[in-house]
């Protein structure tokens, strides 16, 4: 039997006034599910839901606004048993990650926009006005047409007692981007990836670059075929990312199929937490290189 564990992150370039316990709360909430014999899928969904409800993070409540002043969210979840569900460009479902989970159950893979919203409402998910998602900080960035070099996402990976793996992520996307722009977060192989022989991973950085590199998949491939340890694999993938895209802010969280977590961030502002049978730690950027590692 596996020792379950959840790893969460609140995004690269997490904002400086962040209440730094929310990522730990999210990991704890996910772990409660695992400790009560819940599945890795339910655990990552619950963790991401907690992160979505935090107004300081760029997912659901607190999301960036697109150029037309609308918040549009992407969310996705995958498991090692082949489940995948994702929604992109939603604007009224309060918790897009819950919508992604419904999409898994109904086997429609990937829904967008108003259709995803309607699907969520039909399934009884809480719906809100788009203004619900808008917080002062993001509104003022949008008004000033400020741009961020990176793009926060929130994410979680987990392994449950049966050894099943899951990865989930959710984002409000890039601030003041073209309406209808979709990044990597919800897309299998790009923002998240799961391989039952290796582990589960979710990456965060600039969506367009992660999409082109298929970053999450790339790290898993290096572990699998080059036989690298997860930390080295992430370092190499990120080095290629930095060279190709000339962008430093990239990070990923990972849990192996034998329950060992790894967090690696090229930038040093990743908010993270790990809670499991054998772990209970969190940080803004980690100095404890015995368990986890950052650059």
């Amino acid at each position: 039997m596996m020792h379950p564990v959840v790893v969460c992150h609140g995004g690269v370039q997490s904002v400086s006034d962040l209440n730094s316990t929310v990522v730990h709360e999210a990991a704890t909430a996910g772990y409660q599910i695992l400790a009560n014999n819940g599945s890795a899928l339910d655990a990552v969904v619950e963790s991401v839901r907690v992160l979505e409800d935090c107004p300081a993070l760029n997912a659901a409540l607190g999301s960036n606004l697109q150029l037309d002043g609308v918040v549009r969210c992407d969310a996705g979840v995958m498991t090692s048993s082949g489940h995948y569900g994702a929604c992109i460009g939603t604007s009224i479902i309060k918790n897009p990650i819950l919508l992604a989970k419904e999409i898994v159950h109904h086997r429609v893979n990937l829904l967008h926009g108003q259709y995803a919203d309607k699907f969520g409402k039909d399934k009884g998910l809480a719906a809100v006005d788009n203004s619900y998602f808008k917080v002062e900080k993001r509104l003022s960035r949008w008004k000033d047409s400020q741009t961020l070099a990176g793009c926060d996402t929130v994410g979680a990976v987990a392994i449950d007692k049966d050894g099943l793996l899951a990865a989930a992520s959710s984002t409000g996307g890039l601030t003041t981007c073209i309406p209808g722009r979709v990044g990597d977060s919800a897309i299998s192989g790009q923002g998240l990836a799961v391989d039952p022989e290796i582990g589960a991973i979710t990456a965060t950085g600039t969506g367009e670059f992660i999409a082109k590199q298929c970053t999450s998949k790339d790290v898993l491939q290096k572990i699998k075929y080059l036989k690298l340890d997860p930390l080295t694999a992430a370092k190499e993938t990120f080095q290629e990312y930095k060279t190709q895209f000339r962008e430093d802010a990239i990070a990923a969280i990972f849990v192996s199929n034998d329950g060992v977590p790894c967090i690696y961030a090229e930038s040093d502002s990743l908010e993270w937490a790990v809670v499991g049978d054998k772990f209970n730690a969190s940080g803004f950027h980690n100095h404890d290189k015995n368990l986890f590692a950052t650059s």
Binding site: S81, L110, G113, A149, R181, V182, K217
Partner: protein, 340 residues
């Protein structure tokens, strides 16, 4: 004979009715001729695949552009992708565009413009936001029902009447093209999605790494595109999963494709008990050769390939009726010296 530019295309994997086979072959031939002719006029492989896929879209025979499957609410919602192995551009959930591949190209090209206000330009646009962007770029829009044909309407009506949401035949999932030209590679694909798809559903054709993938390096480049049951392709991340395994130049491409298709798709634990139904075309360019290969577990696969001196087009048929079997083929060309 040494060659310098190469093209391989497909018009869908699934079930091509006998009575239509000669029409598909004619279409493949015409598109290959367009593509090969373009080598004299264009400078990059992306230009070639865009041109070819436009013609595939314009044909009412294919599930892309004109003649696309209708979704559950009776509309044609398109998705398309183009990549040169370094960057990509894609669109999804767009209505009323005659050539979705031109839309994907517009997103691809937009990233080459000087960036505005430090924003990273998008590589993937969907729905109304995509449509506004495309209209601003002057991409040709048509009345939405112009993409409907008598056949696509009648299939839709019949399917609705039978309340059969996942007809496997004759809905053929995408069209695709791969090219190597002038030291550049490209992949392009375009799709109307599955018949009677759930409104708002997006398939693998617009997702880089899922339905198509390409990687360019000066000494070795690869392009791959997959068509078939969208859900299976999504779950297995098929294009990049198989694509990554095809770089060993000591093994002919066709054999690598066969082994990895078996391992990562036919035997995938993600497929439960579903019948595996996909078709794949691949182009691999090394320092001395260009290899083209194809494989399909569907009943048939409409394929063609061409160089300036060589055109071949056919509907490949799987002879075995046993599930989880497949057909494959491949061809190897030496590169002209000055392109090595």
């Amino acid at each position: 004979m040494d060659e310098s530019s190469f093209l391989i295309i497909h018009a869908g994997a699934g079930f091509h009715a006998e009575r239509k086979r000669s029409s598909y072959k004619k279409l493949l031939k015409h598109c290959l001729q367009i593509g090969v002719q373009s080598f004299n006029e264009i400078s990059t492989a992306v230009d070639c695949v865009e041109r070819v896929v436009c013609h595939l879209e314009d044909s009412p025979l294919t599930n892309a552009g004109c003649g696309s499957n209708l979704s559950l609410d009776g509309t044609v919602e398109s998705e398309a992708l183009v990549s040169d192995g370094k960057s990509c551009g894609s669109v999804a959930a767009i209505i009323g565009f005659k050539n979705p591949i031109k839309c994907a190209r517009a997103v691809f090209d937009n990233q080459l413009l000087p960036s505005q206000l430090g924003r990273v330009p998008p590589c993937f646009l969907v729905a109304q936001g995509a449509e506004r962007f495309l209209e601003d770029k002057g991409i040709e829009k048509v009345p939405a029902d112009l993409l409907l044909t008598k056949e696509s309407r009648s299939i839709f009506n019949e399917a609705c009447a039978r309340l059969c949401k996942e007809l496997k035949a004759p809905s053929l999932c995408t069209v695709g093209a791969l090219a190597y030209h002038n030291n550049t590679i490209a992949v392009a694909n375009s799709s109307g999605g599955i018949l009677l798809k759930h409104p708002g559903r997006i398939g693998p054709s617009c997702l880089f790494g899922v339905g198509s993938w390409a990687s360019y390096q000066p000494e070795m480049s690869l392009a791959i595109t997959v068509t078939g049951i969208g859900e299976q392709i999504m779950k297995t991340n098929l294009a990049s999963t198989i694509g990554h395994q095809l770089f060993n130049v000591n093994v002919p491409l066709m054999f690598l494709l066969k082994d990895n298709f078996q391992k990562f798709y036919i035997e995938s634990s993600f497929l439960d008990n579903e019948e595996p139904l996909v078709g794949i075309i691949v182009l691999r360019k090394s320092s001395t050769a260009v290899e083209l290969a194809w494989i399909h577990s569907s009943k048939s696969f409409a394929i063609g390939y061409g160089t300036s001196s060589h055109l071949k087009y056919f509907v490949s048929e799987k002879l075995s009726k046993v599930e989880k079997t497949f057909e494959l083929g491949g061809v190897n060309f030496s590169l002209k010296d000055h392109f090595k």
